[in-house]
């Protein structure tokens, strides 16, 4: 540890710098000078990124990095629920956290830089950079979380910064609706996550005395002095997991571990927009494009994948949960890819493409096991490459939108000459996502396909291969329609290239997208047994490339010729086309459930019940009191003589009793 002592000891600065920057921007700078807010916010993230690179460099080259040791760089007690159940916030340094820290800070820094140009003159400029810093802090806090509570805390914070950024243009009803939808859908998913955490916390605490000594001996090596039930180190210990897996819930014969992992996966699926909780992500494109690039493509949405990876030993110990991960991932990837072919909004196509790629990462995790962990590395690899090329796609799309002021691809066209840099970088990213050698996507997809095949998941492999083809199809579709042919809109005719401050991040991301595939990734990031498979499997490489090229040729066939073959095709498909175009009516289904069932059959009757039955009961008792009083008051005539008569009568009655008693 000595060789990277300085940066290691100060690793907490990586998330702390954006937080301080956020506070400074929000409290002092933003009201004074918006221009300055952008500069300070950007510089802060660049400093943070520099720290992250330094840490990555030091960590991966140190013995600890080679052995994938998880180390705690900094920790402090944050909240003591009760004795023996404490939350220690801290900074966890292990391969995936270092990886994610580098990715998040890189993409965030480039997006900040890009936004200085993109958001120029926007009225929400100051707020935008503040929120972006808040997001970067939360995401980094999530990545370095050493325990599940810190993970949840930052999980919610990235959710709220996403909410704020989607709703940046709060006067636009669509943006408001999208931001609410994003928050509420992920909140619903987080409910599962929270319940999962509570269950894990409870049983973890319950068995803590039994297993803690064994775990603690390894923990000390990693810099943990005060092990707690919420710590990942404890929750991913094989003995603890075996114990949890042995408890049967007598509910569909599932084990406690499976139940809690399924609940945790619900949270992950919500954040990573897995089917059927994917509905918020396409709508989230209402936010500014840099936000889509950073949050809804490169970083926040991979938090779900990261969570599954973080708890991978637990998922692996419960085979059922892992299988669920694989199939949900596979289904989402093909489902979203199919929808992606039919969408006309460039950002929405990219959003569905993100869904599809996230499904890819999930399925890769799902096919891995502790004994055969290739999928784990593959998933992280794809997360890594995807972050760059998808951010690039969004930023390039942003440059296009910036130039033509529309999101509809059919109003663009012929932009290749007018926006040469944007066109070139977009093409690099398209090739990368389609998995064409030698761009980054090729290598990570290849690993995913190899892991699915070698794990024996043939259905998943088939789906993944199909998706590779469809991905190439829809990506080249928007590429051709946007950049080739004649300009179809007025604005497209007068488009001109974006300023340098926007182009610089594009170029840098393009370089990364083209090259990062050559990193020998599984040397740095892996779990469990050493990986047996290395390098490129030629059979898989050929079939994947064939699938991708098929997609590209289909795109050329449909979208480059003079005759509109695509429209003919969609007429031919008729209802099926409409079904896909309407995203399988999932949104309508949700609206039906929430409005017609939850609001109409629970909320409204409850509100009625409260006003009429419960409160009616209160008013009824008041009415009874008043009415009885109203009747009884006739006894009170106000005439002293009547009262006296009662008095005399009462006295006589008492005398009678006394007399009777005396006898």
């Amino acid at each position: 540890m000595e060789q990277f002592s300085f940066v290691f000891r100060n690793a907490w600065l990586i998330p702390a710098i954006p937080l301080v920057s956020f506070a400074v921007l929000g409290l002092f700078v933003s009201p004074i000078s918006k221009r300055l807010a952008g500069v300070i916010g950007t510089v802060a993230i660049f400093i943070s990124a520099a720290f992250a690179f330094l840490l990555a460099w030091n960590y991966f080259l140190s013995p600890a990095g080679k052995e994938h040791t998880a180390l705690i760089a900094w920790t402090c007690e944050w909240l003591r629920y009760q004795t023996g159940l404490t939350v220690n916030i801290g900074v966890l340094v292990d391969p995936i956290s270092v990886l994610l820290m580098s990715v998040v800070t890189t993409v965030s820094a480039l997006v900040h830089l890009y936004s200085i140009g993109y958001m120029h003159g926007d009225e929400g400029y100051g707020r935008f950079f503040g929120y972006l810093n808040l997001f970067t802090f939360s995401m980094l806090g999530l990545v370095v979380a050493p325990n599940i509570i810190q993970m949840y805390i930052c999980w919610e914070l990235v959710g709220v910064s996403s909410f704020l950024l989607i709703g940046l243009y709060y006067q636009k009803p669509a943006a408001v609706a999208a931001s609410n939808k994003a928050f509420i859908v992920t909140r619903f998913a987080d409910l599962g996550f929270l319940i999962g955490i509570i269950i894990l916390g409870y049983y973890g605490y319950h068995f803590f005395g039994e297993f803690a000594p064994a775990v603690a001996s390894t923990a000390v090596k990693n810099g943990v002095t005060n092990l707690q039930p919420f710590d990942f180190l404890y929750l991913t210990n094989s003995a603890v997991l075996a114990k949890l897996a042995s408890i049967n819930l007598h509910f569909f014969d599932i084990s406690l571990l499976t139940a809690s992992m399924v609940l945790v996966f619900m949270g992950a699926a919500g954040k990573s927009a897995m089917f059927p909780l994917h509905i918020w992500l396409p709508d989230a494109m209402e936010g500014p494009t840099p936000v889509s690039a950073l949050i809804h493509a490169a970083t926040m949405v991979v938090a779900g994948v990261y969570l599954v990876a973080r708890l991978f030993p637990a998922f692996a110990a419960s085979g059922t949960a892992l299988l669920l991960v694989a199939y949900v991932g596979a289904f989402t990837s093909i489902f979203a890819a199919i929808i992606g072919i039919t969408q006309d909004d460039i950002k929405r196509v990219l959003a569905f493409s993100t869904l599809s790629q996230l499904g890819y990462m999930m399925l890769a995790l799902g096919v891995a096991t502790m004994a055969h962990p290739l999928g784990y590395s593959a998933s992280m690899f794809h997360l890594f490459t995807h972050a760059f090329f998808k951010a690039l796609l969004f930023l390039a799309a942003g440059a296009v939108i910036h130039a033509v002021n529309t999101n509809n691809i059919w109003e663009m066209g012929g932009l290749a000459k007018k926006l040469p840099v944007t066109h070139a970088t977009f093409l690099v990213a398209t090739l990368a996502i389609s998995g064409i050698w030698p761009f980054a996507g090729f290598f990570s997809k290849d690993e995913i396909l190899a892991s699915a095949l070698s794990g024996g998941h043939y259905v998943v492999f088939a789906i993944a291969l199909t998706v590779a083809g469809i991905t190439a199809l829809y990506m080249f579709r928007i590429y051709f329609v946007t950049f080739w042919g004649k300009s179809r809109g007025d604005a497209a005719g007068h488009a001109h290239e974006a300023p340098a401050v926007m182009l610089l991040p594009l170029v840098m991301l393009a370089i990364l997208s083209a090259t990062v595939g050559f990193v020998n990734f599984s040397d740095y990031v892996s779990i469990g047994e050493p990986i047996e498979h290395h390098g490129i499997n030629s059979k898989i490489a050929v079939s994947a490339t064939a699938a991708a090229l098929t997609g590209v040729f289909l795109a050329i066939f449909f979208y480059t010729g003079q005759t509109d073959r695509a429209a003919m095709m969609s007429r031919l498909l008729g209802r099926i086309y409409t079904l896909v175009k309407q995203k399988f009516y999932i949104d309508e289904f949700y609206i039906f459930v929430t409005h017609q069932i939850l609001f109409r059959f629970i909320s409204r009757p409850a509100a009625w019940f409260d006003r009429h039955i419960v409160d009616g009961g209160v008013n009824l008792s008041a009415w009874i009191t008043r009415t009885t009083g109203g009747k009884l008051r006739y006894l009170q005539t106000g005439q002293v003589q009547v009262y006296s008569l009662w008095f005399v009568g009462g006295m006589l009655f008492l005398l009678l009793i006394l007399w009777a008693g005396a006898r």
């Binding site: 106000g638 005439q639 003589q641 008569l645 005399v648």
Partner: protein, 110 residues
């Protein structure tokens, strides 16, 4: 006959019976009269029956002390004060509303 009566000294029972009769007359008047002045007179009657009782008990039960007489004088004084206040109220009501009927003095009702 008058001689025989004068020879026959009245005992405590006689005084008590007289007092009870006075009290009963007063009570009847209190309960039945409508006229405020009448009610006031009935109350005076009842108070006087009480005074009579006090005097009688003093004379026959504890002749050595004067407690009963003091009480009697006290009641007479209070009764006078009470009659003055009550009469003042009734006169005031009569001035404003020209009534002495207690059943119609119901402004505070409702």
């Amino acid at each position: 006959m008058i001689e025989s009566l004068s020879l026959h000294k009245p005992h405590i029972e006689h005084w008590l019976v007289l007092s009870a009769i006075l009290f009963a007359i007063g009570l009847y008047g209190l309960l039945s009269r409508r006229n405020a002045i009448g009610i006031l007179m009935s109350i005076e009657l009842m108070l006087n029956s009480a005074v009579l009782n006090l005097a009688a008990f003093n004379r026959f039960v504890a002749p050595a002390s004067v407690d009963g007489q003091i009480m009697a004088l006290f009641v007479i004084a209070v009764a006078a004060a009470e009659a003055v206040v009550a009469m003042a109220i009734f006169v005031a009501i009569f001035r404003y509303r020209r009534i002495v009927d207690v059943n119609r003095m119901d402004l505070m009702k409702d």
